[in-house]
């Protein structure tokens, strides 16, 4: 007797019980709760920066320090907006609009591009503000009296090292994502 594979497959498995709608909705909400939590953390970080550097705008004596602090506030909002924009990839519920390969590669390529271009949208916006504050610090007689020049160079070096570290780690992440994209391409594309 010859068996029909399609029939055998469709007749296989346990009896199916549809999950309760309430259960499905709770599960679906988890996805949005995660996004809301991430957004809240970003907004909280923005508020901390606004309070800290907003205070500097009024307290610091030198005009360059004031402009630099104001610049950092604007840069923080810009970076938060970029994080929000670049972070909101296609959610799984939109995946019905596109085939498998497009959906997955789109998700990963989006993350990879964000990491690759981290200098332009995450590091560069802060540099003018920091530079202005540092120049302003150099012109501030109080600062010159209390903070030795070598310590200011150490501060500048630490800031530059931190930015370089952020850039390097993100490039590593981008390379890892690129390898995953190539892996999927290889898994998916033949013929």
């Amino acid at each position: 007797m010859t068996l029909d594979p399609k029939h055998a497959w469709q007749a296989s498995g346990e009896t199916y019980d549809a999950p309760a709608l309430a259960e499905v909705r709770v599960r679906a909400d988890k996805f949005y709760r995660k996004i809301r939590r991430r957004n809240l953390i970003e907004y909280a970080a923005c508020i901390v920066v606004v309070i800290a550097f907003g205070r500097n705008v009024f307290v610091l004596p030198n005009v360059l320090q004031k402009i630099g602090s104001g610049w950092l506030i604007v840069a923080t909002f810009y970076v938060a907006w970029q994080l929000h924009r670049r972070g909101s990839a296609v959610s799984p519920d939109r995946s019905g609009e596109m085939p498998l390969s497009t959906f997955l590669c789109m998700q990963l390529a989006r993350q990879r591009d964000a990491l690759r271009s981290i200098f332009w949208w995450y590091i560069l916006p802060f540099i003018p503000g920091i530079a202005l504050i540092l120049i302003g610090n150099g012109q501030d007689p109080q600062m010159a009296k209390h903070v030795p020049i070598w310590l200011r160079w150490v501060g500048l070096g630490a800031t530059a090292t931190m930015f370089a570290g952020v850039w390097w780690l993100n490039q590593l992440g981008a390379r890892k994502l690129q390898r995953r994209i190539e892996e999927i391409d290889q898994l998916i594309s033949e013929d």
Partner: protein, 176 residues
């Protein structure tokens, strides 16, 4: 509750009723571990429910459900595969249906289904998709719509699949 959410709920409930068993079978094709599989099924249902908020007949409902289910399952498979690197193969590399674990002696439809599942677990995503969709009785055109593979690529895979399924799969048949 707004009329939009009521419509979304109604569409989801109808789709879960019509395609629920297919989703269970599909999840078995992507995840062998029962605990992780339950999680995957829930993930697919959650994505499906959310998806009906934006579904406006962009494609046939059946294709829509298959796309959501496969996309969620393949994402699950790729994330899971980072930990366990079992090499996956193409349809052309499988010469006959493998034995389905301890059930080598099992015959009839149950035995065949287990062998099909064992073969599915060995396959790369594109071939796995085509095999699952073929077994769910989708046409070549529908398979192309769901997967995004070209008509030629779908035809080649279906040809290989038919050849594989035409192989005698148990000892009695081989002897006959």
């Amino acid at each position: 509750m707004s009329s939009d959410s009521r419509a979304q709920n109604a569409q989801y409930v109808a789709a879960a009723r019509d395609h629920g068993a297919m989703i269970e079978r599909l999840a078995r094709g992507y995840e062998a571990d029962p605990e992780l599989r339950r999680d995957l099924v829930q993930e697919i249902h959650a994505a499906l429910w959310r998806s009906f908020a934006i579904y406006e007949g962009q494609c046939a409902e059946r294709s829509w459900v298959h796309r959501i289910a496969h996309n969620v399952a393949v994402a699950h498979m790729i994330n899971g595969r980072r930990g366990r690197r079992m090499p996956l193969v193409g349809l052309d590399e499988i010469v006959e249906l493998p034995a389905g674990g301890d059930t080598e002696r099992e015959t009839g439809e149950r035995g065949l289904a287990k062998r099909l599942l064992a073969a599915i677990h060995m396959l790369k995503p594109a071939d796995r998709q085509v095999m699952l969709l073929y077994l769910e009785d989708l046409t070549a055109a529908e398979i192309g719509e769901v997967t995004g593979l070209s008509a030629g690529a779908v035809a080649v895979r279906i040809h290989r699949l038919k050849a594989l399924l035409a192989q005698p799969y148990n000892a009695e048949e081989k002897q006959a």
